[in-house]
């Protein structure tokens, strides 16, 4: 990838992120922040490549910590976002006394 192409990708992705988010209603801000937090968990693939190419003990140790943290970011981000979004229901699917969160699997928004 040449530098200028990478720069174009950077610019287009920046506009894309701004546009995608700009129409989000306030009620979804917290899940969305959590969801975007999950998306940058893609750092996992970079950490895997870094550890995969590590030779010295120092490189391996740091690489290991990197993959560990990145996996935590990706998995944790996914789990909490999914838990939050699962609870959003419209009046159409009104359930009385729904306590807790994952009690009824498969009864998501739709």
């Amino acid at each position: 990838m040449t530098g200028i192409v990478a720069l174009y990708i950077f610019m287009l992705a920046a506009f894309c992120g701004y546009e995608v988010i700009s129409r989000v209603p306030v009620i979804l801000h917290t899940p969305l922040m959590s969801g975007s937090n999950f998306v940058h968990g893609i750092v996992l693939v970079g950490a895997m490549v870094a550890l995969g190419g590590a030779h010295t003990t120092l490189e391996k140790t740091i690489g290991f910590i990197g993959v560990l943290l990145a996996a935590g970011n990706a998995v944790g981000g996914y789990v909490v976002t999914e838990r939050m979004l699962e609870m959003f229901k419209s009046s159409g699917s009104r359930q009385t006394g729904t306590r807790g969160n994952t009690a009824q699997p498969g009864k998501g928004a739709h």
Partner: protein
């Protein structure tokens, strides 16, 4: 290069392409409550594809270490993510976000310690991503500690901002020495990362708990940027796209949050307000607090045509959202129009209250935000305030001397009757006296939100 390596390379690139598309489509679907759930599933499948395919990278070693790290890190995160209470969600997001920043910094560290300078541009990007990732890592850890109640003090000293600037300058100088290969020794690299981590600590420690949501959102955007920069270093397009999308989306989200709190971002980061600050203005409030019994409130609501509920974080802390929803369902069954009015900063971050109400089973179409609901208070018979205070204080509209002057508020005072459920007579989170409580059409229902909710349910059932 033989053809199997070539086709593997193609497969990896094609998978990353699909992953990037799934991320963007997933975020897009998360922007509507109807499709939000499928949005995270789309993004999740993209992540799975990218992770699996990355094992095929040509020339990879240390598979055992990689697998072990994924299992341990992912397992712990899975376990904690499933257990965390909805009220604690903001600090959990901060924690996971910090981990992402740490991972980006770790990538930078591996690349820099390796010492094969791949060119000034690439090394500079690694260094910048390293600083941002480190700040996000240690800063998010402090944010987590503050919201979790592990760190209760906001440490401030005079000249703190100058100190932070000097730290940043020192980190940048060391980073430049490494990036331009002037002195890329392991000692310099270590000092560089130590300074960057310290900067995250000293930047975040003075910021008060009330401002933490904005800070978490900012660090979320910063982590995205750090990931994008390390994506440049590794030539990984999926990381560049995903990181940049999060970076710009997170910046927008941070601005929206700061605006909702009537603060500029600079103000949040550098003023060190956000605590129950020293300038607790008393204000000239006239009138008296007029208590009311639950039975009277029950009758009032049962025969109302429209009730607007204004929940605050106090309701969530008392875990009263289930009781309140039960109460509202009784009213709905009687033909009363019930709506929930959510202030942008209700809860601990924008949208947090919606999550807590959703947990209790409140449908999202009964929930309105400030702009939608404010004109409706005039037609409401009852505004029921539960555990909310500053966000309904009319002082913000008309008293220029008040610290919350100018903050957008819910116009609950315009309703025909205002009922405030409150534990005691104390002032709110900011220490500012609430003029709403003293109005002629306001009545105070003293008691814990949970208990008051039960009493109201009894009262409405008694009406028959």
């Amino acid at each position: 290069m033989d053809s199997s390596v070539l086709s593997r390379e193609t497969l990896i690139q094609a998978s990353y392409f699909v992953t990037a598309a799934l991320f963007i489509l997933g975020l897009k679907r998360m922007s509507s409550p109807v499709t939000a759930r499928s949005g995270i599933l789309w993004a999740g499948s993209g992540m799975l594809v990218a992770t699996v395919v990355s094992f095929l990278y040509p020339g990879m070693t240390n598979y055992d270490l990689i697998l072990a790290a994924i299992v341990v890190g992912g397992g712990l995160a899975w376990w904690s993510g499933k257990r965390v209470a909805m009220t604690d969600m903001p600090q959990m997001i901060a924690l996971y976000n910090g981990m992402g920043g740490g991972a980006a910094a770790a990538i930078a560290a591996v690349e820099l310690y390796r010492g094969e300078n791949p060119g000034y541009a690439t090394s500079s990007l690694a260094v910048v991503g390293g600083i941002i990732g480190s700040v996000s890592f240690s800063g998010s850890a402090i944010a987590f500690g503050k919201l979790q109640g592990l760190i209760t003090k906001s440490i401030r000293f005079s000249g703190q901002q100058v100190f932070n600037l000097l730290l940043l300058a020192a980190a940048l100088i060391l980073g430049a020495m490494v990036a331009f290969n002037l002195s890329a020794t392991p000692a310099v690299i270590t000092a560089f990362f130590a300074l960057a981590l310290l900067l995250g600590l000293t930047m975040t420690l003075p910021i008060g708990g009330a401002d933490m949501p904005v800070v978490i959102s900012l660090y979320n955007a910063l982590t995205g940027l750090a990931v994008a920069f390390e994506g440049f270093v590794l030539g990984n397009a999926a990381m560049i796209i995903a990181g940049t999308v999060v970076g710009s989306a997170g910046t927008l989200l941070t601005q929206l949050m700061a605006k909702a709190m009537n603060r500029s971002l600079g103000n949040v980061l550098f003023s060190g307000f956000g605590d129950t600050g020293g300038e607790a203005a008393t204000g000239d409030v006239t009138g008296s607090l007029k208590p009311i019994e639950a039975s009277d409130v029950g009758v009032m609501m049962a025969f109302a045509s429209k009730v607007i509920v204004v929940p605050g974080y106090g309701m969530a802390v008392a875990q009263a959202q289930h009781k309140i929803w039960e109460l509202c369902q009784l009213l709905i069954d009687r033909g009363v129009t019930v709506k929930f009015a959510i202030h942008p900063v209700a809860g601990r971050m924008p949208g947090h209250m919606n999550v807590l109400l959703a947990e209790a089973g409140v449908p999202y179409d009964l929930i309105s935000d400030l702009d939608e609901i404010n004109s409706e208070f005039e037609t409401a018979d009852v505004a029921l305030i539960i555990g909310a205070n500053d966000v309904v204080n009319p002082v913000a509209r008309n008293d220029k001397s008040s610290p919350i002057y100018g903050m957008p508020i819910l116009n609950a005072d315009k309703a025909k009757n205002v009922i405030v459920i409150k534990r005691g007579k104390g002032a709110g989170f900011s220490g500012i006296e609430n003029a709403l409580f003293y109005l002629d059409n306001t009545r105070m229902l003293y008691g814990d939100a949970q208990k008051a909710g039960s009493e109201l349910i009894q009262a409405i059932k008694a009406v028959g």
